[in-house]
Assembly symmetry: C2
Homo-oligomer: 552 residues x 2
């Protein structure tokens, strides 16, 4: 069995000009990065969104992996082979994890985005631009304090952190500004990985350069000694940061192995942020294809909810079909089966775990969409399991279609494509779950009850203080971005399946005013990963001809 | 008077394909980054260096600025107008300082490299790739210690620092790894700016990808508990870092305002490193033009010395002409005149300060080259001053040619071009100053006596310890890279003119085994700049059309 990188390297890519032509993007809007990657100049492309949007989400993720991106890519190739034009619009991978644990982030098998090495390394430099912008702002804040602190920033309440796109646990908690008077003001702080920077969320929700600059200027970076918010605009950073991001705002164009145009652009964390690719890429894609396939990170409780309540709301997007990716092995894991038992037939576990799928179907319906469940096939799935699941779906009036995109690419998703196109053609408008005007407390409670099946929400003392601070500043009617474990509908990652009757604990609320949402923390959020005992980096090499080996 | 950025933005650039064609670079070797920037695939371009190399250096730098790059660029345009083909091969600017104090790093006036905004911001991402590689290595070292420390690395003797391409004084001295057992091992460390990373020096001296990987694996990053060196190869980082640098190793092609092809590639610090653009770019340029113009950072005591003793030696380069850039105002500054007096006629100060120029001429002759002095004209230069200087040069058998490239581009350097071409045609081979086999102590003393006119060299106790450690590991016969103030021939920045009779103090010696030299510190070296009270960043903005204003 060839590896992902072997399949990708054996493939002959079409010139990016051909792909652009396929998407109807004129040559003068194309900014080439080599011959197989390009950026699209958003100032010269059409903006009228005539395409239909397909949102791909999944059941609750498990360590076994569900192949959400892989299904999305194969489905796009399959839809294109029906004669409708299609464009993929997904997130770009973070470099840090590439050096940590093996695993591509651009699909797999014969459903991949290429050139996969470039996409997984520097790509077109978007993450680096965000890192530079993030750290320039940090330097400007600390410099302001060092140079007289006219704004009265409390050095103990600088919330803006530096970032790197590296898995580096040693940077989680640091003290900076040591060494004496000439070297800044000592401060306890930390680094996040670049994907967790608010600038990433801002870039992914901005509609153009002017909106980007406005959003940047609104980002809250600190508090004054008397508790007033300090913004990036207060330290006059918005112009420089926008200049640093002027190329990064343009969507990246690449291709699937099936030759479908793919916009791979932006990659915010799906817990501390909203977890969707850039709004600009999605809208530009919708102006250039009949069908656009995009994703929401994690399951319906996180990625899809944030897609509807944050991204679709910000960008005035309607969703014509929702696909929920499920696998038999992951349902069995959700049914309580141990990870090393998943390839053995176990109907009991499947019957237990299917409750997780049922909940995600129910959740998606709450946004006004009737989902299609894509059953991503694995060779270990048994006929008995497959038949039981098919019967279960039929009994419960759920459209469930098997696909086999890893091994067959688009050809493995023909039936799935038909089902999705049928759904698109019958679609009625979708809607968000709540009205931000109802306030943070009410809306968090709505999400917790409706999607998580929690009985109630408990706010810690800190969260209550945060709520008051947010209300004081008029930020309590912004949408909420709940940071919760992806493994459970509750805030306890060990409660698999379809947890209910639990209490959601909100520990802290963080203003992300540039992004335009409030993050509600319900557990410990790791915003800086570490490297494992044997990092993937140790196995990577470059041949004399420049070919990369050991990447995955 | 238009500003540099206004001149650059008013210019209509030629397509990069036209520029490549002018340099004889075939289309299949061209990797476009947009339509006016490209990288050159070094694996498919000729390597036979048939061109003649011109090294541009300067008198001792002053706060008034001498315009070394500006003269180099104008001279290249002038040489090309004589009918000989020419290519510029210079360093790429660092992003950090762009946000600090206003001032472009790609020439000035009508002698600029364009697109200047791109070149001064992210360009083709080389610096970001180096930052990522540098910080990936740091994470791998700390992760090794955290995960059991099989190599026995002493956490107190990890010399490898992290870097960012931001002017951020608060990162000079930091403590990392705080927060408890899960978050790494506490360590006192610091960040440098990216240009000061050894990886930058390595990239600029590597001959190909294989050599790059070898050099990376040799970089010393720490010592074990029993004092043995630990290398990047010991933590198996060379493959991943080479993968991260596989694009960065390819030279960048842009153009001068006069349409001359320009390789702008690599930018190591000129004190903690050797201060020259990449060897690969210089050699590739020499395979594609009659005349290649390159630079050595600072004056003959630093940039030119390191060019001959480190870069030319490593890359088997011969220099056919050396240009020393001088200005009347800087000579007056070197003659003791205050900075705010430089635009007033002052023959006394000029007569005092000319000793600085005389010393640089003498120094260049010690490498076997007869220099051409380029007098970079300013409107404040008076006829009396100019005449006196011309007479002085004639009396002392020095070729001195005025030029006015800021206002007139190549047309302002016609006579200078003639003088340089005459020198090239009469050139005899140049040579380094010393033989590395003579050992570090002897060679530092040679440089100090011959070029600095020091009477002796004093090594501190620490430097003596370092010498012993270096000898123990067989590194005492590597070339030396002296880190010294650029303002004086001594290690005291206030001794202007042509200091002599002083003692050079070597305080510390740092192994840079990947780069292939030993850094000798003679003073405090600032490897992380800070932002000024009013950073240039505050004045930068982007118009809705994407045009950057306030950059310089």
């Amino acid at each position: 069995m060839p590896t992902d990188v072997e399949i990708a390297q054996a493939h002959t890519l079409e010139p990016i000009t051909t792909i652009a032509d396929r998407a109807g993007i004129p040559e003068q809007s194309l900014i080439p990065y080599g011959t197989t990657k390009a950026k699209i100049d958003i100032t010269t492309t059409p903006t009228e969104t005539t395409g239909k949007l397909v949102l791909v989400t999944g059941i609750s993720p498990t360590p076994a992996g569900e192949g959400k991106s892989t299904v999305l890519i194969g489905l796009a190739d399959a839809i294109r082979s029906t004669g409708r034009s299609a464009i993929v619009a997904i997130r770009e991978p973070s470099l840090g994890p590439v050096m940590g644990i093996k695993g591509g982030a651009a699909g797999g098998g014969y459903s991949q985005i290429v050139p996969m090495e470039d996409i997984n390394l520097h790509f077109t430099g978007d993450f680096h631009a965000i890192t530079a912008a993030n750290n320039t702002l940090a330097a400007m804040i600390d410099n302001h304090i060092h140079q007289g602190n006219q704004l009265g920033i409390d050095p103990r309440r600088v919330s803006w952190q530096r970032c790197v796109d590296v898995n580096d646990r040693s940077l989680r908690h640091v003290v900076t500004g040591l060494g004496g008077k000439a070297h800044g003001v000592p401060a306890e702080t930390g680094f996040t990985i670049t994907a967790a920077s608010e600038i990433m969320a801002v870039l992914c929700l901005a509609t153009d350069l002017a909106d980007l600059a406005d959003r940047i200027s609104r980002m809250v970076v600190a508090q004054t000694y008397d508790g007033k918010p300090v913004t990036a605009g207060d330290v006059n950073a918005q112009g420089a940061l926008t200049a640093l991001l002027k190329d990064a705002i343009n969507p990246n164009l690449v291709q699937t192995l099936g030759g479908t145009p793919a916009f791979v652009h932006g990659g915010p964390f799906a817990n501390i942020a909203h977890g969707c690719n850039s709004l600009i890429a999605t809208r530009t894609a919708l102006a250039h294809a009949d069908v656009v396939l995009t994703e929401g990170g994690f399951g319906s409780d996180l990625g899809a909810e944030k897609f509807f309540d944050i991204k679709a709301r910000a960008g005035d997007l309607d969703v014509s079909a929702v696909v929920i990716v499920a696998t038999i092995r992951s349902l069995k894991y959700n049914g309580g089966l141990a990870r090393d038992q998943l390839t053995t037939e176990n109907l009991d576990a499947l019957q237990q775990g299917v409750a997780n799928l049922a909940r995600h179907v129910e959740n998606v319906r709450k946004f006004g969409a009737e989902p299609v469940v894509a059953l991503n096939s694995f060779t270990s799935d048994t006929d008995v399991e497959k038949q039981w699941l098919a019967d279960w779906a039929q009994t419960n009036n759920i459209t469930l279609v098997p696909c086999d995109v890893w091994a067959h690419g688009g050809a493995g998703a023909t039936n799935l494509a038909d089902a999705v196109l049928t759904t698109i053609d019958a679609a009625t408008p979708t809607h968000p779950l709540y009205d931000p005007a109802d306030g943070l407390e009410a809306n968090i409670t709505t999400i917790a009850r409706e999607l998580y099946h929690a009985t109630s929400v408990e706010f810690t003392k800190q969260a209550r203080t945060d709520l008051a601070y947010l209300a004081e500043n008029g930020w309590d009617t912004l949408p909420v971005c709940i940071s919760k474990t992806q493994y459970s509908f509750s805030d306890d990652p060990t409660l698999l399946g379809a947890a209910e009757g639990h209490v959601l604990h909100v520990r802290q609320l963080l203003p992300r005013i540039g992004a335009g949402f409030i993050v509600a923390l319900t557990g410990n959020v790791m915003t800086m990963p570490g490297l494992p005992k044997k990092p993937a980096a140790e196995g990577i090499a470059v041949s004399d001809g420049g070919k990369i080996t050991g990447l995955f």
